[in-house]
């Protein structure tokens, strides 16, 4: 990632480019700094709904046009919304990259939000939410987030509550779009087979004429420090119990993030998400304790990579007849082990080696590279992609023990259980 180039247009639009010539394709992402953390009370789910509306009508395009334009040349396209940002992307044969510029420059300012389209999409999004509701993990995640964050918008999920999805109006959504979509609140990330200077010129031609907008005021109030352990239980029909045991962690720019990533690698595996890792290694502490031993069906852990303070999570899926108490006690025992014993230097060296290999494999595609750069830039800085290996190498055994004691402590804990129940609420 040494060859990433940074550019800025006069209206504030930031551009990151990386030339990769291994295949005749290119990917174009535009990231807006708007997600669940930017949604005021009563508008949970607005950012995600706006994302859906961007595939509807603009002053130039009708519903379905984007699909026809991109797929008609063999490309792919989509979008996603999460806590901190919304991203739109097209991956295309390189000679057709201008299609992405046309689409994204058009919908940055010209989306129409036709009232009929808004109403049709309301039921689509409620349907999306009802699809998620089939998952015990979704129900548990919602309960845990709302328990962990009483003030900060991370306490409501990205998809939004049904109440808000039923009550938000076309004008609410259009206002959200107008406040957050504009060149000064966006970052373009392009990776692939193109000449950078030429691409930047074309980006300027498409986006350079847009007026700068004022930076939207953040609605994300700082979450007060949690001073007492919290607990939540979801009783609902389902196949097995699930434990989600969380602790509050700092924002991504905090110096303790690297030791927390190493700590998490010992528990489950190399840094995932934007860092390219993912999955629980079979030699990890949690896998050995829970899955290799046969006491649970699966286990994983991750650290939030977010703008604001987030959560470290351990998730254990039990066998259908598994008893909750011993599992929770065993997770706490692994946390005590982190408090009591500093890991060996050899364990830390191994984390660095694993991280290097996993990232080399995960970042083979231009799309994966653009996701990493954009997501890190949204949370802190794309330069974390360059420094990650060195950041991890500098972590000492004492650092890991210190962050375990600092963050993975009882008052900062949120324990969530999904417990299968009959439809009437009785134990199943």
């Amino acid at each position: 990632m040494d060859d990433v180039r940074e550019h800025a247009l006069a209206n504030g639009l930031a551009v990151l480019t990386r030339e990769v010539r291994t295949a005749p394709i290119a990917t174009f992402f535009i990231w807006y700094r708007v997600g669940a953390r930017d949604e005021p009370q009563g508008m949970s789910g607005a950012s995600h709904w706006v994302e859906h509306m961007m595939f509807k009508r603009t002053q130039k395009l009708a519903p379905g046009d984007i699909g026809r334009m991109v797929e008609g040349v063999g490309g792919t396209f989509n979008a996603f919304t999460y806590e901190d940002a919304t991203a739109y992307h097209e991956t295309l044969p390189a000679e057709h990259l201008d299609l992405a510029l046309e689409i994204e420059s058009d919908r940055m300012l010209n989306a129409v939000f036709d009232p009929d389209d808004v109403e049709a999409e309301r039921t689509v999004i409620i349907s999306e939410r009802e699809g998620h509701e089939a998952s015990p993990m979704f129900r548990l995640m919602e309960a845990v987030e709302s328990t962990a964050f009483k003030v900060h918008p991370y306490g409501h999920g990205v998809i939004g509550s049904k109440t808000d999805l039923r009550s938000m109006t076309r004008d609410d959504l259009f206002g959200h779009y107008q406040r957050h979509y504009g060149p000064g609140n966006a970052v373009i990330v392009a990776v692939g087979d193109f000449a950078t200077d030429d691409l930047v010129t074309r980006i300027d031609q498409h986006f350079g004429g847009f007026p700068a907008i004022s930076q939207p005021t953040s609605v994300a109030e700082r979450e007060p420090a949690q001073d007492e352990a919290r607990r939540v239980e979801v009783h609902h029909p389902g196949p097995f119990p699930v434990l989600m045991l969380c602790h509050h962690t700092p924002e991504r720019t905090h110096a303790d993030c690297a030791p927390l990533l190493v700590l998490n690698a010992l528990l489950s595996g190399p840094p995932s998400g934007p860092f390219g890792g993912g999955g629980t290694l079979r030699t990890s502490r949690l896998y050995q304790r829970f899955v290799a031993s046969g006491i649970a069906a699966s286990v994983g852990a991750d650290v939030g990579v977010n703008i604001d303070p987030s959560l470290h999570r351990v998730v254990v899926i039990l066998h259908p007849s598994g008893a909750p108490e011993p599992i929770e006690e065993a997770v706490l025992d692994e946390i005590r082990r982190l408090h009591d014993e500093a890991p060996s230097q050899a364990e830390l060296d191994r984390v660095v080696r694993q991280t290097y290999a996993k990232r080399a494999i995960a970042l083979e595609s231009v799309t994966a590279q653009a996701v990493q750069l954009g997501m890190l830039e949204m949370a802190a800085s794309w330069r974390l992609a360059q420094t990650l290996t060195d950041d991890l190498r500098r972590v000492t055994p004492a650092d890991v023990q210190r962050v375990a004691r600092t963050y993975l402590r009882e008052p900062a804990r949120v324990t969530g259980w999904f417990l299968p129940a009959a439809a009437n609420g009785a134990a199943a």
């Binding site: 379905g64 063999g74 409620i126 231009v366």
Partner: protein, 438 residues
């Protein structure tokens, strides 16, 4: 029509070699990458099990790496994790498979471990017990999930009880809970053999060196006496493919699952084999019907126009045996019948009237133009090599693929659709909250 890929994957660039034990090796060098991907398929799929042992092939593949004559499961995992590599085994209905990723310098490790696991598994009793319990948990989840429930029941109805295509790959709780380590050992002895194995290696590798390495590893695997041969596998596939009398009338089943708010439906017909001459017309038709943009014509009607669903698409699955052409969507229970009617209307419309020129052109260009995206990663290339070998398409297939798609006419699309979906006797399964007034 051109695909524009920078990779020239053809008979000149792909090294194909038959190893001493009959296994086939395919190697494609991709020096731009620091990594390597391996992939393989072989006979040991559910086509070699019976209805009474549904799930045995899958459980055997899942337990394969849990101990060999030379390594414990922990030692196997340690060798991989130490270098950030991965190697996994599983079984589908038609075949069993493996996939591995590593830095290129660790190819030898991947092939050594693959060989040990395929040839020398011991299926320790305690490890088999753990894998069995994990599978029981997966099955409990499938029972609770509307999409899985609909899909499993749909295949049972479509194929009936005598075809392995009709039962789920991971079996039933009633069959899986009975499996003992010895059942897995016997299945392994019968179903695992190098004769049907095709292995692909793609990445920063030197083909002659890979060939030598493969001869020393996979090539040294001697089949057990009486183990399945390539022709035995083909016979099992043919038996699984035995034509079943189509139903005379549409059939529908509604499955109620406690605590759900959304209904998933799966509506479909028996489709064609991948080797059928109408395959290319079928994939173009399916793309128009349920893929282009956000779900093709079905997505446009059910999602965009009526706002009934988040997902609504159609699928024409390729296979060595006949596979379904199906439509699936997730719908609020109150709107299920509207969505089903709209989906059927779109399918029948395409069976009656050829698509217009622009829709046809876009769909064909999408199918051809997306090829470079599929060739970007080493594992993507490996999967395409294995696909070309499995369906006997030849190593020059990617050169002719654009022309095969381009040759599809609007009438071909209508005819391919009519041949399958014009049949009024569809199979429909819904799963979700109890439906009222159906």
């Amino acid at each position: 029509m051109t695909s524009g890929s920078r990779h020239a994957i053809n008979a000149d660039s792909v090294a194909r070699h038959t190893l001493q034990n009959g296994a086939t090796l395919l190697v494609y060098p991709n020096p731009a990458s620091p990594s390597v991907a391996i992939g393989a398929y072989h006979a040991a799929g559910a086509v070699l099990e019976t209805r009474e042992t549904a799930g045995l092939a899958s459980l055997t593949a899942d337990a394969l790496s849990r101990g060999t004559q030379y390594r414990t499961y922990l030692e196997f995992s340690e060798e991989l994790d130490r270098v950030g590599a991965s190697l996994a085994f599983h079984a589908d209905t038609e075949y069993a498979a493996l996939g591995g990723r590593a830095l290129a310098e660790d190819l030898e490790l991947l092939l050594t471990l693959s060989t040990d696991v395929l040839a020398n598994p011991t299926f320790p009793n305690d490890e088999v017990g753990r894998v069995r319990e994990q599978t029981m948990t997966v099955l409990a989840h499938a029972e609770d999930n509307p999409g899985s429930r609909a899909s499993r029941r749909f295949r049972e109805l479509l194929y009936g009880p005598s075809s392995p295509n009709g039962w789920p790959e991971d079996g039933y709780a009633a069959t899986v809970r009975e499996f003992q380590a010895d059942d897995l050992r016997k299945f392994h002895a019968r179903a695992y053999a190098p004769g049907s194995l095709v292995l692909a290696a793609v990445g920063a590798v030197d083909p002659p060196a890979v060939r030598d390495l493969a001869e020393r590893t996979i090539g040294a695997w001697a089949p057990a006496p009486g183990a399945v041969t390539k022709s035995g596998w083909r016979e099992a596939l043919a038996a699984a493919d035995a034509p079943r009398a189509a139903p005379a009338e549409p059939r529908r089943e509604d499955i109620a699952i406690e605590g759900k708010t959304q209904t998933e439906f799966l509506l479909g017909w028996m489709g064609i084999r991948r080797t059928d001459p109408s395959y290319y017309a079928t994939i173009v038709a399916n793309f128009i019907l349920g893929q282009l943009g956000l779900g093709g014509r079905i997505g446009s009607n059910v999602r965009d126009t009526q706002g009934l669903a988040y997902h609504a698409s159609s699928y024409a699955v390729p296979g060595l045996t006949r596979q379904p052409w199906s439509i699936r969507a997730g719908i609020n229970p109150a709107n299920v019948d509207r969505a089903i009617e709209a989906s059927l209307k779109e399918a029948r419309q395409l069976a009656d009237t050829p698509p217009d020129d622009e829709e046809l052109r876009l769909s064909k260009q999408a199918l051809v133009g997306s090829l470079p995206l599929r060739l970007e990663r080493n594992d993507g290339i490996a999967n395409i090599l294995l696909m070309m070998e499995r369906y006997e398409l030849g190593l020059d297939y990617l050169g002719v693929y654009p022309d095969l798609v381009d040759a599809v006419t609007a009438d071909d699309v209508r005819d391919a659709t009519a041949a399958v979906v014009a049949n009024p006797a569809y199979t429909l399964v819904t799963a979700g909250p109890e439906l009222r007034g159906v």
